[in-house]
């Protein structure tokens, strides 16, 4: 065991997978000599060389498209998009090529790519360094989407994603990069895709969340604990496909569901979660399915006051949980 942060966990996962499987390569802007703007690939170019850690021009469609082509021909590329906000030039390649190639080739082609993208706000990055874009990709069958909240999961999910034969979009909440540390085993392990984690057991209310908001939610749960409201916090970890069993088992137990995400509300993951719960556990519910999310505005505003207004926080989550628990 050693105590590492999220960025180190990602780097360790990349390094170990590259050492174990020479089909694993990395492509992205400034990932080579400099080791990435967040240092996620620090030292890997020095170790694995030009052929396996490849600096790319600023051309996201080509970064992901080349990764897809390489995957179809037998490699296991990990593409880095510098910020999730810049994934959109590659949207067509991801959604029209990666997500559909297995289906359209009737299972002939595998597309084992991972697209890593730092997401989320809380770092004063303003409109184009703060977006949470996971919902767009959760609407695309053929993709898998993961969003770890801590170093253990970051490492285990990335290893699982690299070994997975299908395309995985891997969102890293950059606000967790250096703020969250864990004891992480040095031995090889994976965190299976599609399995949520119950971070805190509770009787009164189920709180469903992922990424940076897991930490705000756990804090909110501690606040409510003092008020005798017992919150069960579930870290979804994989957003597509969702772990319906864990979600529904918890909601059937607590009869109340609170969903928290940073992305804006309309058409967000919370909408899908709410629909699943109403379809599958309606008769168990004792209160309205409630969402605490970013507001429906085009992007993160820059001013610190406005960023704070945008971001869900432990206080906002606790308020919503209190109201829901009162039903």
């Amino acid at each position: 065991m050693s105590k590492i942060n999220v960025i180190q966990a990602i780097r360790d996962a990349l390094n170990e997978e590259m050492a174990a499987d020479e089909r694993v390569i990395i492509l992205g802007e400034d990932v080579g000599r400099i080791g990435g703007v967040f240092r996620a690939t620090d030292g890997l170019w020095q170790k694995y060389g030009d052929n396996r850690v490849i600096d790319m021009p600023i051309a996201e469609a080509a970064i992901v498209g080349a990764a897809i082509g390489a995957a179809l021909n037998g490699l296991r590329p990990v593409a880095e998009i510098q910020f999730a906000d810049y994934i959109h030039p590659a949207f067509d390649q991801i959604v029209n090529e990666a997500a559909k190639i297995r289906y359209r080739s009737a299972g002939g082609f595998h597309c084992p790519i991972v697209v890593r993208a730092p997401a989320g706000g809380g770092i004063h990055g303003a409109l184009y360094h703060s977006q949470s874009v996971e919902a767009y990709f959760c609407h695309a069958p053929g993709l898998k989407v993961v969003a770890p909240s801590n170093p253990y999961d970051a490492k285990g999910l990335l290893k699982a994603a690299i070994r997975n034969p299908d395309p995985v979009i891997y969102f890293e909440f950059k606000a967790t990069y250096r703020t969250v540390e864990d004891d992480v085993p040095e031995d090889d392990y994976v965190v299976p895709l599609g399995v949520a984690a119950v971070k805190r057991q509770g009787r009164d209310l189920t709180l469903l969340t992922y990424g940076m908001m897991v930490h705000e939610s756990l804090q909110a749960a501690e606040m409510l604990d003092k008020e005798n409201v017992d919150v069960e916090v579930i870290d979804l970890r994989t957003l597509l496909p969702l772990d319906r069993e864990t979600i529904l088992t918890s909601v059937r137990k607590t009869s109340k569901a609170l969903i928290v995400h940073e992305a804006n509300k309309t058409g967000g993951l919370g909408a899908e979660l709410a629909a699943i719960i109403s379809e599958e556990a309606f008769e168990y519910l004792d209160g309205p399915i409630t969402r605490v999310t970013g507001p429906d505005v085009p992007a993160m505003p820059f001013a610190p006051t406005l960023e704070a207004a945008f971001m869900p926080s432990s206080a906002k989550i606790a308020d919503a949980a209190r109201k829901l628990a009162a039903y």
Binding site: E29, Y86, H124, L127, Y128, P301, L306
Partner: protein, 323 residues
């Protein structure tokens, strides 16, 4: 140089010096922890923005980049609101909503700095199309970096501008690096302006640290655009003094490179050039230097004394509001 009057030369010097003073001060403010977020500084590239924009009026349009402060100042955006925008204050050009990377000013034809690399190319074509449809003589300038020249949008835009014969000038600011990646690695062409041949438009490479070279090439390209002769590509080769963003460790800069930057300083060169030819006096230039400092200090004071936007502002400007 001959066709510029003394007043014009002084104005040009003032504008370049304002940009430099703004950027140096912002670097200091950032280091003091006074500015949230990311700032990308334009110091070293002043001759490009000013060499191009000195041909424009408020009716002309520009699209800018993440490194946009110089474009803003050269296009006439007011300094106080710019500085306040960097602080995220309610008196900022965009009420503190955008920050350094997204300063826009409708009245000045400044279509916005842009956090998306390559985002401006197609927008410039659309703006050019408007001028063509309406029959005005407005020109749109698209500033973009060497790194941006690899983005698909830029290629789509240059092709479109040519087939529609648009009044658009593509100004590539080649400062040698896209973040840490050298242009010699990321670019297939020897000179980025070589790509103009493929789009069948005039293309030139000029020394982007030489105001007069930029001014002349841009002047010709803008005149062609105004006369309905279509787009051009002007590549300006230069450098940026600071890192990609403030806080960048700049591991990709060597000592020799930095020493060479100082020798090629665009403001130093301009100053020497006009003094050598006795076009202006040293005292006149020194006075401008002092004024620029004062202007920037006033802007810092203005920004620091301004308030942060109220929380409700988070929810406004999503759709049009009818008063």
């Amino acid at each position: 140089m001959a066709e510029l009057s003394k007043d014009e030369l002084l104005e040009i010097y003032e504008c370049m010096q304002l940009i430099r003073t703004f950027e140096d001060r912002v670097s200091g403010l950032f280091a003091e922890g006074k500015l949230p977020g990311f700032v990308h500084l334009y110091a070293g590239e002043e001759a490009i923005a000013v060499g191009v924009c000195s041909h424009l009026t408020d009716d002309d349009f520009i699209t800018s980049t993440h490194r946009g402060h110089g474009h803003c100042i050269a296009k006439g955006v007011e300094i106080n609101p710019m500085m306040a925008e960097l602080y995220g204050k309610e008196t900022g050009s965009c009420k503190g909503k955008g920050g350094s990377m997204h300063i826009a000013d409708v009245d000045k034809g400044m279509m916005g700095a842009n956090g998306i690399v390559g985002g401006g190319g197609p927008l410039a074509c659309g703006s050019g199309l408007t001028a063509k449809v309406k029959g005005t003589d407005q020109v749109t300038i698209c500033f973009f970096g060497d790194g941006a020249s690899e983005q698909g949008t830029m290629h789509e835009a240059m092709n479109l501008a040519k087939i529609w014969k648009l009044p658009v000038v593509f100004v590539c600011e080649n400062n040698g690096f896209a973040e840490s990646t050298p242009v010699g690695y990321h670019c297939s062409a020897k000179d980025i302006s070589d790509r103009a041949t493929a789009y069948n438009m005039p293309g030139f490479t000029v020394d982007g640290t030489d105001f007069f070279a930029v001014h002349e090439a841009a002047g010709e390209a803008i005149a062609r655009a105004r006369q309905g002769e279509g787009p051009s590509l002007v590549e300006c080769k230069g450098f940026r003094y600071y890192g990609h963003f403030e806080g960048d460790a700049k591991a990709y800069y060597t000592e020799e490179m930095v020493a060479d930057f100082k020798k090629r300083d665009p403001i130093g060169k301009f100053r020497q050039g006009v003094l050598d030819r006795n076009l202006v006096s040293e005292a006149e230039l020194d006075k401008i230097d002092a004024q620029a400092k004062q202007t920037i200090e006033d802007a810092v004071k203005f920004a620091e004394e301004s308030a942060y936007p109220a929380l409700e502002e988070c929810l406004t400007d999503v759709y049009v509001a009818y008063a």
